[in-house]
Each structure stands twice: as structure tokens, then as C-alpha cells.
């Protein structure tokens, strides 16, 4: 299989480059079996390195013990629980003080989509507007998964969550997801990108760019992170679900800088029908044909929207 062979070369190259760097989380974290977020955290922090202050607002990231419990820590670098609401602001304060005293420290957040797109959005937007020099990563598992799968504004249309249940009157979430990365593009951040753990070489490349951008402006990374528990699929299928999201254009991978504009980093030539992605998990099991059509239309509309921005930037 030619694409598979290509992938081996790429993964081996990543391994040879970064495999020797220390995993900066404790060996034991309490993420669910097959947790995509734990995978993302470990790769990310290893890449970003020990000269980092890490903020993990309430959610799965500290929920699995990255900040620790009762006197122990889960992380080898300085780490803290900001409030769900103030991650970007608190990190900005940390970064500014180190800049004031002339120390090079990366201020990084690994935040859930709920804390970023809902209740933490004001501080995120404010910090982006002020151009605070921080690296803000959103782990988008499309809901409040740590507390038992409640809907967030990043939850997609039709998805079952515990607060958008399936019943006689409603069948899952009745609104489409907020597109947080595009909102961040409209803040003209120094760097904005979407990524997926299924495309790890793409993620690593974007992490490098984001890290660099965070030295002179606000860097924002939005990573789609399937949740085996909340989305209802077998833990072994996590990367496969993440991959199908991209292959169906349910998730598009792109990056943006004010200088280069927006461009797709993994364009999909022949996208799978979105139903192939939806069928891979239980949270969409109840969908009617009309709901599936709505989602297919939305996927295409979202794609056209981003394509137009990309064309304008390069036209």
C-alpha cells in the first residue's frame, strides 16, 4: 500500500526526531482507555519542552490528573488549574512578567472546547485581541466530556449528549457547531491552525509554527479529538474516527497567518460521504435521513466558506 509506506517513513522520522525527548507528563494519567486527548497532550508537551508554564482549565485534561490530586502532580513542568473562564488571561499575566524580567518561557494552554468556546471565550478573545504572546491549544472533543458528555457550542448538529438527548420531541443537538478557529482567524492572531491526531506529522509541523508564533503574538491551535466514551465507539477505533472526520471534510485541516493568509494543509480530493464518519460512532446512531442531509450540507457549506477565504487570500 503506497500511502501506508509513505506513512511509515513519516512516523519513523518523527520518532527519530522527538522519541528521545522526555514525556513531560507522569507515566500514569487517568484518561479513559484510548483517550485521544491524553495522546495529544503527551505529544504536545514533549514537543514544547520543559521551559513551559502549562495551563489546563477544568475538563478532561486536569480531570485525568495533569495537575494532580491531593499533593501529587501529573506534570513535570509548572502546571496549574486556571478557572474554566480565565485561562488566556491568567497565562497572559505569567508570560508578561517573564518578558518583563527577560526570561524566555512558553505560556501554553491545553483547554477543552467548552472552556474555550463557551464560558472562557471572553478571556480568550480579549487575550487574542491584545496579542498576548501565548500558545493556546483547544482540544475539541465537541462537548463537556469530563463531566459526563454535556453539549457545548462546539457540539455538532444532531449529536446526542446528556443535555441534548434523543427523545420523542428532539433528536440530539438542534444547532450547528460554533466554528471557533475561524473566529480566531478574525482576531488576526499571529497563527491559527486546525489539526487532528490522525495526521500527526501535520500536527507536529503546526506545533512548531505555533510555538514560534507565540513568541511574537497569539498562537491558536484547534485540535479535533474524538472521545471514545462520549462519542460512543470502541477505544481501539479512536484514530480511525479522527481520520474519517478529515477524510469526509467534517473536519478540515488548514492554517492561517496574517502574512500568508489561510491555506489547506491536507486538502481532501475525493471526500467520503459524511455518513461514513457518522456511522463510526454511537452518538449519531439515531439520525434521520433529513438530519444526515443537514450535516452533509453543513459540511459542504463549511468547506466552501473556508475555501473562499483561502482563495481570497491567495487570489
Amino acid at each position: 500500500c503506497p500511502t501506508g509506506a509513505l506513512r511509515h517513513v513519516t512516523t519513523a522520522r518523527i520518532y527519530n526526531e522527538v522519541g528521545g525527548w522526555e514525556d513531560l507528563f507522569a507515566p500514569g494519567l487517568a484518561g479513559c482507555q484510548g483517550c485521544n486527548t491524553e495522546l495529544l497532550m503527551r505529544h504536545t508537551l514533549r514537543r514544547v519542552g520543559p521551559d513551559t508554564v502549562l495551563a489546563t482549565p477544568p475538563g478532561c485534561v486536569p480531570g485525568m490528573g495533569s495537575v494532580g490530586f491531593n499533593g501529587t502532580t501529573g506534570t513535570k513542568v509548572p502546571v496549574f488549574h486556571p478557572l474554566l473562564t480565565n485561562t488566556a488571561a491568567m497565562l497572559a499575566g505569567v508570560k508578561r512578567q517573564y518578558e518583563r524580567v527577560g526570561r524566555k518561557v512558553t505560556a501554553m494552554a491545553i483547554a477543552g472546547d467548552g472552556g474555550a468556546s463557551d464560558v472562557g471565550f471572553q478571556s480568550l478573545s480579549g487575550a487574542a485581541e491584545r496579542g498576548e504572546r501565548i500558545l493556546f491549544m483547544v482540544v475539541d472533543n465537541e462537548g463537556y466530556m469530563n463531566t459526563g458528555m454535556q453539549r457545548s457550542s462546539c457540539t455538532p448538529y444532531g449529536a446526542w449528549t446528556s443535555t441534548t438527548p434523543v427523545g420523542a420531541h428532539t433528536r440530539g443537538k438542534t444547532q450547528d457547531a460554533k466554528n471557533l478557529p475561524l473566529i480566531m482567524v478574525n482576531h488576526r492572531c499571529a497563527y491559527v491552525a486546525t489539526a487532528s491526531t490522525a495526521y500527526m506529522e501535520d500536527l507536529y509541523a503546526k506545533l512548531d509554527k505555533a510555538l514560534e508564533a507565540s513568541e511574537h503574538g497569539f498562537a491558536y491551535l484547534h485540535v479535533y479529538s474524538p472521545c471514545t466514551t462520549g462519542w460512543r465507539f470502541q477505544s481501539a477505533m479512536n484514530i480511525e474516527v479522527a481520520r474519517k472526520a478529515v477524510e469526509s471534510n467534517f473536519v478540515t485541516l488548514w492554517e492561517y497567518t496574517p502574512e500568508t493568509g489561510l491555506s489547506f494543509s491536507r486538502p481532501v480530493d475525493r471526500p467520503l460521504p459524511v455518513v461514513d464518519y457518522l456511522k463510526a460512532m454511537g452518538r449519531f446512531r439515531h439520525l434521520s435521513p433529513e438530519q444526515i442531509e443537514h450535516i452533509q450540507n453543513k459540511v459542504e457549506e463549511n468547506l466552501r466558506f473556508v475555501q473562499k477565504i483561502a482563495e481570497k487570500e491567495h487570489g
Partner: protein, 416 residues
């Protein structure tokens, strides 16, 4: 406003040099902050605090103050930015009031638990509903159980001096708690009085070395997890949690001693003497007394002087430090009075009285004295508490010598 300065003759050789000037309360707070040399101030404007942060911004713009100023998008982020700054070692400051304080309540609660020595002025404001932009203590009183130290100022000079002292207090190793300097919106924030401004070098000598994050830091050279989840239903969690809570309470109690020490040192250095916890005014042979808080006290003292001149045996007790509540100092002040009138500029909804009155009842119990005490509520939403009003308070308190107090508060600026 004018920054006219006049050198004042130095009457005490050991005393620091000062400059006299006319200054509004908000301006005095800003000048004090500059003297304390914070690394970081974060601001969001709100009436009646606005002229304070405008003054800070101009001091920084003119190069008269070396601090990073963060124009945050709201008070919630203001306090959050400062928490981050403090965890990286910055001395930090902000000011707010009313709705701004309510909006920052979530990080506000956290500042004391993390033992971060922030200083924040509350330019007190009434409301929030009935909607009001005018003075009153309701905002500061509403957050009184949040683990912050709160000191209320009577004069513009006291605003200036207390604001500088607040930084040293907050960073004292036995305290390590955030401090609110409460300054009355309107009468103190915009009222301009003659003040004496201390010299920078002498404030530097008073302040000593900055020591903000020795106990908790976000520093790659000292990696630690800050505020991991603590508690649970078993194991060592609950007792660990209780240990930290008890530590917070001990810090508050230590503050009573440290506030007194710092006020004494300030008085020796600068010749400005303020009662650190509770001021006893003409109490020595007083049969009855009134209690005040903040800027209302000046008019009340004038009324006491006039009543004394008319032969009344009345004195005044002013609370300066409201949190931690100065139980021992207030016990001393109340030791011999036989009737008490307590004037609050806010309400304690649950007890149908003023908050200071409510707290004082507890002190009387500890003292073992059951004397008639009356709650007076006035000065809400910018209402003026004049000498004439305090004569009424004095008269009604004197009446308690011969009749019991009412369970109802007396509403001073309300028409029946």
C-alpha cells in the same frame, strides 16, 4: 488636577520628608501605587473608579511609573492576569467596584486561597439594583467572606498611606493574603483634600525587598503543580483541604498583628499616625458611643466634638480594618460604653441591619456585655452623611441609656 507641591517644614528630624498637595482620593490611590512600584497593573474602567485607573495609565505613559499595564477586556480577566503575573513573581495591583467586583468574584475567591498578595482598591459603590453609580459599601460588604483583608479609609491621606502599606502587609510572610483598600466612592474618590506625599526613596526603604511568589510559583526553574484538586471523601484529601483552610484563617489572624506593626512603622517613618484596626475617639469617659466606617467618620467626629462641647459624654469608634474583624481591639473599645449606635453604609439583608452592626453583636457576646445597641443605615447610593445626621444618631443612641433598642434599623436618609 493640579500637582502643585509645596515643601513642608520638617518638624521632626527623624521623620521622612513629604510634599503637600491637593489631591482626590482616586488620585491619591494611584500615586500610592506608583510609590509601591508594582510590576503589573491591570485595569478596566468603572464608575467611580475610572479616574484612578486613568491616573495610573497617565503615570505610566509619562514614565513616572515603571509597570506593565494590561487593559483587559473585563474585571474577570483583570484579576486573572494579575494572578498569572503574581505566580511569575510580579507585584500586582488593580481597582474596581460594584458590578466589576461582582464580575471578578470567581477569580476574587481564588486569590485568597492561593495566598497571592495582590492589592486592589475597591472604590465602593452601591447597587447593583436599584441601579446606582454612587457611593455605598454594599459591594465590599457583599464579598466580606472571601478571605481578603479589607481596610476602610477615612481621609484622602489615609487612602494614600494605607495603599502603600497594603503592599507590605499582603507580602508579609505571616500573612500572604490579598488586600482590599476600600475608599468611599464619591466623597473620597472625587473629594480633594490637602495631603502630604512621601518621598519615593523613603517609601522604598519602608517597603524592603519584593517577595511575592516564594510559596507558590509558575516557574520552569521551580516546577510545581499549582492548586491540584484537593479533597474527596476518603484518604488524606479532606484533611489536606482542612489544613489549607486553617492556614488561611491563621493568615487572617496574623494580619491583625502585622497591620498594627506596619501602621506603627509607617507612623514612625512618615509622621502619619492612623489607628490600624479600631480608632477610639473621645471614648475615655464616654457613657455611650457611635460606630462609623470610612469617610463618614469626619463629619461624625465633628458632631461628637459639638456634643462634647454641649456636655454630652459621647465617644466614637471607627473601624479601619473590617476583615479580619478586629475582635480584641473592638472589645477594648466597647469595654465601658453603656449604649451603642452603629452606622452602616450598606445592609446585611439576612439580619435586617447593617453588616458592621451584625459583626459587633458578636463582639459584645464575646465581651459578655448585653448593652442596648442600635443599627443605623445611611449614606446609601451617594446620600450625604452630614454632621446634622450624626447629631440625630447621637441623640437616638443617648436615648438607649434609658430605653431598649429596636430590632428594626433606623434608616437615616429615607423618608418614612
Amino acid at each position: 488636577m493640579s500637582t502643585t507641591t509645596i515643601d513642608t517644614p520638617n518638624t521632626d528630624a527623624a521623620r521622612a520628608t513629604t510634599k503637600a498637595m491637593l489631591c482626590e482620593g482616586n488620585e491619591a490611590a494611584a500615586l500610592a501605587v506608583a510609590l509601591a512600584r508594582p510590576d503589573m497593573v491591570a485595569v478596566y474602567p468603572i464608575t467611580p473608579q475610572t479616574s484612578l485607573v486613568e491616573k495610573l495609565a497617565s503615570l505610566i505613559a509619562e514614565g513616572r511609573m515603571d509597570a506593565d499595564i494590561v487593559d483587559a477586556e473585563g474585571e474577570h480577566s483583570v484579576l486573572s492576569v494579575l494572578q498569572g503575573g503574581a505566580l511569575a513573581g510580579a507585584r500586582t495591583y488593580t481597582a474596581t467596584c460594584g458590578p466589576g467586583l461582582a464580575f471578578m468574584f470567581e477569580p476574587y475567591l481564588r486569590t485568597s486561597g492561593m495566598r497571592l498578595p495582590l492589592v486592589m482598591t475597591i472604590v465602593t459603590r452601591d447597587g447593583i439594583t436599584p441601579q446606582s453609580v454612587w457611593g455605598g459599601h454594599q459591594d465590599a460588604m457583599t464579598v466580606r467572606e472571601s478571605g481578603w483583608i479589607q481596610m476602610y479609609c477615612e481621609t484622602v491621606q489615609e487612602v494614600l498611606d494605607t495603599t502603600v502599606m497594603a503592599f507590605k502587609l499582603a507580602e508579609h510572610h505571616d500573612v500572604m493574603l490579598p488586600v482590599n483598600v476600600c475608599l468611599d466612592g464619591n466623597y473620597l474618590s472625587y473629594g480633594a483634600s490637602r495631603i502630604e506625599l512621601p518621598e519615593q526613596a523613603e517609601v522604598d526603604a519602608f517597603m524592603g525587598a519584593k517577595d511575592v511568589n516564594w510559596h507558590v510559583a509558575l516557574d520552569p526553574q521551580r516546577p510545581m503543580a499549582v492548586d491540584p484538586l484537593t479533597g474527596g471523601s476518603g484518604g488524606n484529601g479532606p484533611e489536606t483541604f482542612a489544613r489549607y483552610r486553617r492556614g488561611q484563617c491563621r493568615g487572617m489572624q496574623s494580619a491583625l498583628r502585622v497591620i498594627t506593626e506596619i501602621h506603627e512603622e509607617w507612623g514612625q517613618r512618615f509622621g502619619h499616625h492612623f489607628a490600624p484596626l479600631v480608632e477610639e475617639y473621645r471614648l475615655d469617659d464616654a457613657e455611650y458611643a457611635i460606630m462609623t466606617l470610612g469617610s463618614m467618620t469626619g463629619a461624625a467626629k465633628d458632631a461628637i466634638d459639638e456634643a462634647r462641647a454641649a456636655g454630652e459624654k459621647v465617644g466614637l469608634i471607627k473601624i479601619k480594618t473590617f476583615s479580619p474583624f478586629p475582635v480584641a481591639a473592638l472589645k477594648h473599645a466597647l469595654r465601658s460604653v453603656r449604649a451603642l449606635g452603629v452606622v452602616d453604609r450598606s445592609v446585611a439583608f439576612r439580619w435586617n441591619c447593617g453588616p458592621m452592626f451584625q459583626e459587633t453583636l458578636g463582639v459584645l457576646y464575646r465581651l459578655g456585655r448585653h448593652i442596648p445597641a442600635q443599627s443605623f443605615i445611611g449614606g446609601l447610593a451617594g446620600a450625604d452623611l452630614t454632621t446634622a445626621i450624626f447629631h440625630r444618631v447621637i441623640d437616638e443612641t443617648r436615648a438607649l441609656l434609658t430605653r431598649p433598642a429596636s430590632d428594626e434599623p433606623v434608616w437615616l436618609n429615607a423618608k418614612d
